[in-house]
C-alpha cells in the first residue's frame, strides 16, 4: 500500500488502484493521462453500456418528450454534476467529433472543464469553445446564443426529469398522468401562479408540451431558451444521471410552453440593459457583482460592489466584442433565422 505523502485526500482506498503522485491536481491528471487510462475502454464506458444508452436515445427520439429509462452508470463525477449528460455525450462521441461543454453559459467553469477533460482523455475528441465549430455541445442551464444547425447535437444535463413533480411528488401517479396526457394539475399550478403574480412566474424548468403530447421539463434553462427548442434544426438530448432517464426533442418538433390564451408565455426581459463587455442587448444577460478593481479596502458595504449586466454566453460575448453587430446566425448562409427572443435578422444587421 502506497504511503500517503503530501496528499490531503481522504481517499485511502488505493488498494488495486494506480498509485498517483499527488503533488498537485495537474500532476495527478498528467499521471492519469500517461498510465491511468490503460485498461479503460474508448470513451470511458464499455461498448454495451454505450449501445444501451444509444438505444434509449433512439427510443426517446421516437417518442419526443417521453422519459425513457436507461441503466445510468456510476461516473467519475458526483451525481448531480452532469453524470447523465456525460454518459449521453460519451455514447455519441467518436474520434472525429469536436466537443463543447458549457456550465452556466461559460466554458471555463470548473465543472465544464472537468467534463471536457474527461471526454478529451478518454474519447480523444477535439474540444472547442466556439459553438459553431462543435459537433456536440453538452450544457447545463443554457442553449447557446448562436443558432444550432442540423449537424449539431445538444446534450442538456437534467437534475429533475418530471415537470409534474412540482405538483405531485408521486412519480407513479405522474407516469399515469403522462400516459393519459392528463395535465390538469400543472394547469392549476399555472392558474395559481397567475392568481398570485398576475402573470406566469416560473423562472426555469418551464413546463413545456412536446409534439402536443408529452409535458416536458426542459431542464434548468431560462425561459429565454425554451423557444429555441421549437422546430429546431438540431437534435436535443436531455439526460439525467441520478434519475436514470433520457428524453429528447428531435429536430423540427413542436415545443410549446404551457400558457393561457390571455396570459401568454414570456421570456426574461432586460429593459435598458446591455452587456457591459460587448454591448449586446439581444442576448440573455445575468447580473454580475464585482468588487471595484482598484481598491481592496473595506468590502462589507454594498456600495463597494458594483452590479453590472453581462452576456451569459461567454463564448458568443467574446465574438461580439470583436464584432458588435455579429448576428446569431452569422455562420449560416441564410438570414431570418428564428432563434430565441430578439434574434436580429442577419440581413438587417449585416
Amino acid at each position: 500500500m502506497a504511503k500517503e505523502t503530501t496528499s490531503q485526500h481522504r481517499d485511502e482506498s488505493t488498494g488495486g488502484g494506480t498509485p498517483v503522485p499527488t503533488d498537485s491536481v495537474d500532476a495527478a491528471l498528467s499521471a492519469v493521462e500517461t498510465d491511468g487510462l490503460s485498461g479503460y475502454n474508448y470513451a470511458y464506458l464499455d461498448e454495451h453500456t454505450k449501445r444501451e444508452v444509444r438505444r434509449s436515445m433512439l427510443k426517446a427520439v421516437a417518442i419526443p418528450g417521453h422519459q425513457v429509462p436507461y441503466a445510468s452508470r456510476p461516473m467519475p463525477l458526483a451525481r448531480g454534476w452532469g453524470t447523465g449528460g456525460i454518459q449521453a455525450s460519451l455514447s455519441l462521441l467518436g474520434p472525429a467529433d469536436t466537443l463543447k461543454v458549457i456550465d452556466q453559459g461559460a466554458d471555463e467553469s470548473v465543472n465544464a472543464a472537468n467534463i471536457r477533460r474527461l471526454a478529451e482523455n478518454t474519447a480523444e475528441v477535439a474540444t472547442t469553445t466556439d459553438t459553431t465549430k462543435a459537433d456536440l455541445i453538452q450544457s447545463r442551464h443554457r442553449i447557446p446564443e448562436e443558432v444550432l444547425t442540423d449537424d449539431q447535437r445538444l446534450v442538456l444535463q437534467v437534475p429533475i426529469t418530471d415537470a409534474l413533480r412540482k405538483v405531485d411528488p408521486s412519480d407513479a401517479a405522474n407516469r399515469r398522468r403522462h400516459a393519459h396526457k392528463n395535465y390538469g394539475k400543472m394547469w392549476v399550478h399555472l392558474y395559481e401562479n397567475v392568481v398570485e403574480y398576475g402573470e406566469i412566474n416560473i423562472a426555469s424548468r418551464y413546463p413545456t408540451m412536446v409534439a402536443n403530447r408529452y409535458l416536458m421539463d426542459p431542464s434548468p434553462i431560462p425561459r429565454w431558451d425554451v423557444p429555441k427548442l421549437d422546430d429546431a434544426n438540431h437534435l436535443t438530448i436531455l439526460a439525467a444521471g441520478r434519475e436514470a432517464r433520457i428524453y429528447a426533442v428531435p429536430p423540427h418538433t413542436s415545443v410549446e410552453p404551457l400558457a393561457f390564451e390571455d396570459r401568454s408565455f414570456t421570456v426574461e426581459r432586460f429593459p435598458e440593459q446591455a452587456c457591459h463587455a460587448c454591448g449586446s442587448t439581444d442576448t440573455y444577460l445575468v447580473e454580475v457583482s464585482e468588487e471595484p478593481g482598484t481598491t481592496a479596502g473595506d468590502d462589507d458595504t454594498a456600495a463597494s460592489f458594483e452590479t453590472r449586466y453581462a452576456c451569459n454566453d461567454s463564448s458568443f460575448c467574446a465574438k461580439r466584442r470583436e464584432n458588435p453587430n455579429l448576428p446569431k446566425d452569422h455562420h449560416l448562409d441564410r438570414s431570418g433565422v428564428d432563434w430565441g427572443p430578439a434574434t436580429p435578422d442577419g440581413g438587417e444587421n449585416a
Binding site: 393519459h180 392528463n182 390538469g184 394539475k185 392549476v188 395559481e192 397567475v194 392568481v195 390571455d262
Partner: protein, 276 residues
C-alpha cells in the same frame, strides 16, 4: 328522458362461484358467499335516472350503496370485479367497459362524483379556486379570464365567500370544503352528479345549509343526481325517487315520500321506524 340506465350491475370482491348470487342478498341475510367467501358488494341492481331527477340510495353501511354509486360514477376499484350494463345518453356502449381515456373525458365533462371523504376529492394544497379550476382546465379551458370568471360564479352559486377563493383549501372549514367539492362537480355543467354521503364530517347545522345549496343549484341547473346516504333525512330532502339497499341488493324502490310513508319491505319498515 332517461339519462342513465343500469341493469344487473354487480361488484364482487373475491374469486366468485356459481352459488354466489343465490347464497347472498336479502333472503340469505349476508353479502358474503358462504361457499367461496366472495363478498358480493352489490348485485342484480337495476335502476334508471331521468334527466334532472334526483335518485336517492339508502341503506346501512355494507349494504352496497356506495359500491353501486361508484360503479355508476365510473370509479374503479382495482380489487373489485364489476359486471353488468350501464348505458348513458351521452355515450355509445357500456359505461362499465370504457377505457381510461373515455372515462377521464366522461368524468371531466358529463358525470361528476362528490367523494364522501374530502381528501379523495380535493387537493388541499391548492387554493379553493384552483380545485374548481382544475375541472375546467382538465376539460380544456385555456382562457385564464374565462376560468377565473367561472370559478367566481361557482363560488357565488354554492355560497362560498368569494374573498376566500385564493386561499389554500386546507384553511377552509369542512362545510366550505364540501361546497368546493360541489362547485367543482358542477363546473363543467355535467348531466349527472353522484353525491356519496354528502353530510359526512359536517356539523348538523352546516349539513342543512349544504344540502339546501345543493338542492337549489341542482334544480336551477337541471342536473340529475344520485345521492347515497345512510341518513334518511338527507334522501328525504333531496331525492325524487329512492332505492333501499340491504346485503348488496335493492330491496325496495319508489317515490321518496311513498318509500318513507308507506314502506313495503320489512327492512324498510324497520329502517323508517328506527328514525327518531
Amino acid at each position: 328522458m332517461t339519462l342513465l340506465e343500469a341493469s344487473a350491475v354487480e361488484t364482487i370482491y373475491g374469486p366468485g362461484c356459481p352459488d354466489c348470487l343465490d347464497a347472498t342478498g336479502d333472503r340469505a341475510g349476508t353479502n358474503q358467499c358462504p361457499r367461496c367467501g366472495t363478498v358480493v358488494a352489490c348485485a342484480e341492481a337495476d335502476l334508471d335516472v331521468a334527466e334532472g331527477e334526483v335518485l336517492g340510495i339508502v341503506g346501512e353501511s355494507g349494504s352496497g350503496k356506495s359500491s353501486l354509486a361508484e360503479a355508476l360514477a365510473l370509479e374503479r376499484d382495482p380489487e373489485a370485479t364489476v359486471n353488468g350494463e350501464v348505458s348513458y345518453a351521452g355515450h355509445d356502449g357500456n359505461l362499465l367497459e370504457v377505457d381510461y381515456q373515455t372515462r377521464h373525458d366522461l368524468r371531466s365533462r358529463d358525470i361528476s362524483l362528490v367523494h364522501q371523504h374530502i381528501r379523495d376529492g380535493l387537493d388541499l394544497e391548492f387554493t379553493g379556486g384552483g380545485n374548481v379550476a382544475e375541472k375546467l382546465l382538465s376539460a380544456g379551458w385555456r382562457s385564464y379570464e374565462d376560468v377565473r370568471m367561472r370559478v367566481r360564479e361557482l363560488f357565488e352559486e354554492t355560497e362560498i365567500p368569494v374573498a376566500r377563493m385564493d386561499d389554500p383549501a386546507r384553511t377552509y372549514s369542512g362545510g366550505m370544503q364540501r361546497r368546493v367539492q360541489i362547485a367543482r362537480a358542477l363546473a363543467t355543467d355535467p348531466d349527472l352528479i353522484v353525491l356519496d354521503e354528502p353530510t359526512t364530517g359536517l356539523d348538523v347545522s352546516v349539513q342543512a345549509r349544504v344540502l339546501d345549496t345543493f338542492r337549489r343549484v341542482q334544480r336551477e341547473e337541471g342536473v340529475a343526481a344520485i345521492v347515497v346516504s345512510h341518513d334518511l333525512g338527507v334522501v328525504r330532502l333531496l331525492a325524487d325517487r329512492t332505492l333501499v339497499m340491504r346485503h348488496g341488493r335493492i330491496v325496495e324502490s319508489g317515490l321518496t315520500d311513498r318509500v318513507m310513508e308507506d314502506p313495503h319491505h320489512e327492512y324498510t319498515q324497520t329502517l323508517i321506524n328506527s328514525v327518531i
